[in-house]
Amino acid sequence: MSSELYQQLLATTTGLLLLTAVLQVWGRSTVRAIGLLVIQGTALAGLVLTVGVQAGEAAAPLVAGLLFVVKALVMPWVMLRSARLIGVTRERSARLRPAVELIGAAGLTLLAYAVSGPILGDTTDPATRAVPVGVSLVLLGFWQLLIRGSAITQLVGFLMLDNGIAAISSLTSGGLPLVVELGATLDVLLVVLILGALVVRMQAEEGHIDISELRELHD
């Protein structure tokens, strides 16, 4: 792979990651959020493939394939199925005004770039220079967890956070070994499967899936 192509691919995939993350914060439709997650999963798989091939990892296509299947196909499908089952397609309540949400997201992206510089130091490696995207993903995922009430969008935020971590680790270490990626991905898959079932159950028991109203267990 030529250096130019590599940089192009890197820029495309990380750009897609950042774009989908910001778009997540904007908008209330659950189906759209899940759709964005599919794009994000695909971009992440592409990023891992790019970095892995560049670093000469033999298992890179395998890892990328695994990520694509789990993050862009299986998880969104499970979440979409849960959402369809309970008939919730829009976020019901707003915790903050949309403008505040977007300003917060912008501020966090800036923060990610601001703190990543000193941490990474001077570097010319294009992959390392893209690390702030991963940090933004983590912070935006957290932001999503904070500002959203519905269990499904919470899950979306959690997955975004996980995507961010995966992106950082892939960018800094030049591709992760298959066993580590396998462990981390399957963990998250388990969480999604369990929560997918739990959401359906919540709707059946409580009539809503707003986690901020779940106060029964607070003692």
Binding site: R95, I119, V135, F142, L145, L146, R215, H218
Partner: protein, 677 residues
């Protein structure tokens, strides 16, 4: 040292047999139909116990294998030394002890286990507990030790919970037990951590090879003693013991009280004799203080308990206290240039451990048999069982003799040896010895006296006289499996008492003590202090004295046959009714009066007057309650403090998930900013 080689040594084969039998027991417990589960699983566990007894005995007399390396799937041992099971002589003793107790308890459990204790979970837990406990003394390094230790702790906790659905106290005592068990584990983990860090290895060989002194040694000593004392049920960390033992199924109580707490003793011996043998003098004083306080406090509480199993549990604290005292005295004397007497004290500690294992198994199993027959543990509600349950009461009687340290039992031999060691200390030159030894001797003597009183009460009130309740009156003898376990245990108690010589000699080898030999075939000679005990000869002598007395009595009885006498002014009334008998509370009342302060005794006399006249009394109720002063003064303030801190923490955690996420988020941002600055 590979796991796959065919073992050619008895010890290795025995270890493999124990592991396989343990796995088989779990398999059978899960797969066998409910009808056969107790018989099949119980039998396999009995076999595992016997395997441990054989392996341990072989190791005790000096057999060594090449060691059994634990194949670890996870890279657990990668940075450390290999995990190897290979019991030394001391470990062999404790493995054999655990094995015999497990075999007896499992045999008893075949007939006794019912309900939740006989469930899949119940028997699985018992099997895991048994094998874990048997392997604790086989460990040759800290990791293996802690692994086996946790198997033992986990299995016992699960089985303790057996009856949780039907009885509330079970839940509470399990909470206490798990907290204290975890505390013990944490202390051990920290202690071994200190040792490993200071010596650069986790195996016993590398720790003892480093000959640690100074701060690391002292820190490790304090932490490990705290951990082992918690498991051994010593004061002030005994609080789990009088709760857990009564609530566990009785075969489990027996295994816990007779064998599991001994692992604490094994730990103390391992620590002071092998890992850190050159500690300063105050270490032994700490052990003596722990031991004497536990012994006295334990027997004092035991003597006023009316609950049979609680009485036995407190008596365990007493016995473990005596063992710890003996270890402390042994170490102190080794340090004071009196190795010969020190050896006798250490042998006494092991003898006390062995004899306590034997008689406490019998006592707890007997209590289980009583519980099954009557549904009662309260001595005030029992009585008259000797006629209705002859096997049980016979065995319990032998066990009580052992616990009271009366002759022809192992208990007598053990306490005799301890007293011999204390008496023969040459304390003239050493001021510390001149103070410590007489005080210790006084406390040991008082403990032995109170022990006698306690077990006269346990047997006399529970088994003799007339039944105090219909439940006691309708008691029936236990089934064959339970009976045989009881009889075997009683035979062991008497066997240890009649032929202590060979065992004592083997025990002396375990702590590399000289000056102990057999006298004749069965007798015991403490050459170090120049005394001899020959129980068989003593017994023959006693019989020779008794036979003429009995004969004369019999002749007299025939000459003057007994006449039925009616009460002169009894108006046809009976001489005694069960309500007029002494019961457990009234028997110990004088003692409660003397030790009112430390027993926190309070009593209420409730008088109900007749409707017609205040001068006529219709009913009187006397209620006496005793408390655990250490629990009130030490644990309750601590738990109250923890609760208050918890309340404060509740203002931070209000149940809102968003708030928690917010905390993590704020922390993350803060860390990022701090790192970046």
């Amino acid at each position: 040292m590979t796991a796959l080689e065919v073992p050619t040594h008895l010890v290795d084969a025995g270890l493999i047999a124990q592991l396989l039998l343990g796995a088989l027991a779990v398999l059978v417990a899960v797969a066998a139909p409910a009808r056969l589960r107790s018989v099949l699983t119980g039998s396999v566990v009995v076999l595992a116990g016997i395997a441990a007894a054989v392996t341990g005995s072989a190791a005790l007399v000096g057999a060594v294998g090449v060691g059994l390396q634990i194949p670890v799937v996870l890279p657990l041992a990668a940075p450390l030394e290999p995990l190897v099971l290979a019991p030394d002589r001391l470990g062999g003793l404790f493995m054999a002890l655990a094995g015999v107790v497990v075999a007896l308890a499992a045999l008893f459990g075949i007939g006794y286990a019912h309900g939740p204790a006989a469930s899949r979970t119940g028997w699985t837990a018992f099997s895991v507990f048994a094998v874990g406990m048997q392997l604790v003394p086989a460990a040759t390094d800290a990791i293996t030790f802690l692994l086996a230790w946790e198997l033992m702790a986990g299995g016992s906790t699960a089985l303790l919970l057996a009856d949780h659905a039907s009885r509330e106290p079970v839940r509470r005592s399990t909470v206490w037990y798990s907290v204290m068990t975890h505390l013990s584990f944490l202390f051990l983990l920290a202690g071994f951590g200190v040792l490993a860090a200071a010596s650069g290895g986790t195996s016993w060989a590398s720790i003892s090879g480093a000959a640690l002194t100074g701060t690391p040694a002292t820190t490790a000593f304090v932490l490990l003693v705290a951990g082992f004392a918690t498991k051994a049920g010593l004061v002030p960390v005994h609080v789990w013991l009088p709760r857990a033992h009564p609530e566990a199924p009785s075969h489990m109580s027996a295994a816990m009280s007779a064998a599991m707490v001994k692992m604490g003793v094994y730990g103390l011996l391992l620590l002071t004799l092998r890992l850190l043998p050159t500690g300063p003098r105050w270490w032994s004083i700490v052990l003596i203080a722990l031991g004497t306080v536990s012994a006295l406090y334990g027997i004092l509480q035991a003597s006023v308990q009316a609950d049979l199993k609680q009485l036995l549990a407190y008596s365990t604290t007493e016995n473990l206290g005596l063992i710890t005292t003996a270890i402390g005295v042994g170490l102190l004397l080794r340090d004071s240039g009196q190795p010969a007497v020190a050896d006798v004290a250490l042998v006494a500690a092991l003898l006390l451990a062995v004899s306590h294992a034997a008689f406490k198994s019998v006592l707890f199993l007997g209590a289980g048999s009583v519980l099954q027959a009557t549904g009662e543990r309260d001595l005030d509600l029992l009585g008259g069982l000797a006629a209705r349950m002859p096997w049980t009461s016979g065995a319990f009687g032998v066990g009580a003799l052992g616990a009271a340290a009366l002759p022809v039992t192992g208990g007598f031999v053990a306490e005799w040896v301890l007293l011999q060691a204390l008496i023969h200390v040459g304390a003239q030159a050493d001021r510390l010895l001149a103070i410590v030894i007489p005080i210790t001797m006084g406390i040991v003597a008082l403990t032995i006296g109170l022990g006698l009183l306690t077990f006269v009460k346990a047997y006399g009130i529970g088994f003799l006289a007339r039944p105090r309740t219909p439940a006691a009156a309708q008691a029936h003898e236990a089934g064959p499996a339970m009976r045989s376990a009881l009889v075997l245990g009683a035979v062991l108690v008497v066997g240890l008492g009649l032929a202590p010589g060979p065992l004592t000699q083997a025990l002396a080898g375990a702590v590399s003590a000289g000056g102990v030999a057999t006298f004749g075939v069965t007798g015991l000679s403490l050459e170090a202090v120049g005394v001899v005990l020959h129980p068989v000869a003593l017994t023959l002598l006693a019989v020779a004295v008794l036979v003429p007395l009995v004969a004369v009595n019999a002749v007299l009885a025939r000459r003057h046959p007994r006449r039925d006498v009616t009460l002169a002014w009894g108006c046809g009334g009976e001489r005694t009714s069960p309500r007029m008998e002494y019961n457990a509370t009234s028997y110990s009342e004088p003692l409660v009066r003397v030790f009112r302060g430390s027993l926190q005794a309070s009593h209420v006399v409730d008088v109900v007057h007749h409707d017609q006249s205040p001068l006529l009394v219709e009913q009187m109720t006397y209620t006496q309650e005793t408390g655990d002063v250490i629990e009130h003064r030490l644990y309750q303030p601590a738990t109250r403090l923890a609760a208050r801190i918890g309340d404060l923490a509740r203002t931070v955690q209000n149940g809102s998930i968003h708030r928690y996420v917010g905390f993590s988020f704020a922390a993350l941002v803060l860390v990022l900013v701090v790192v970046a600055l």
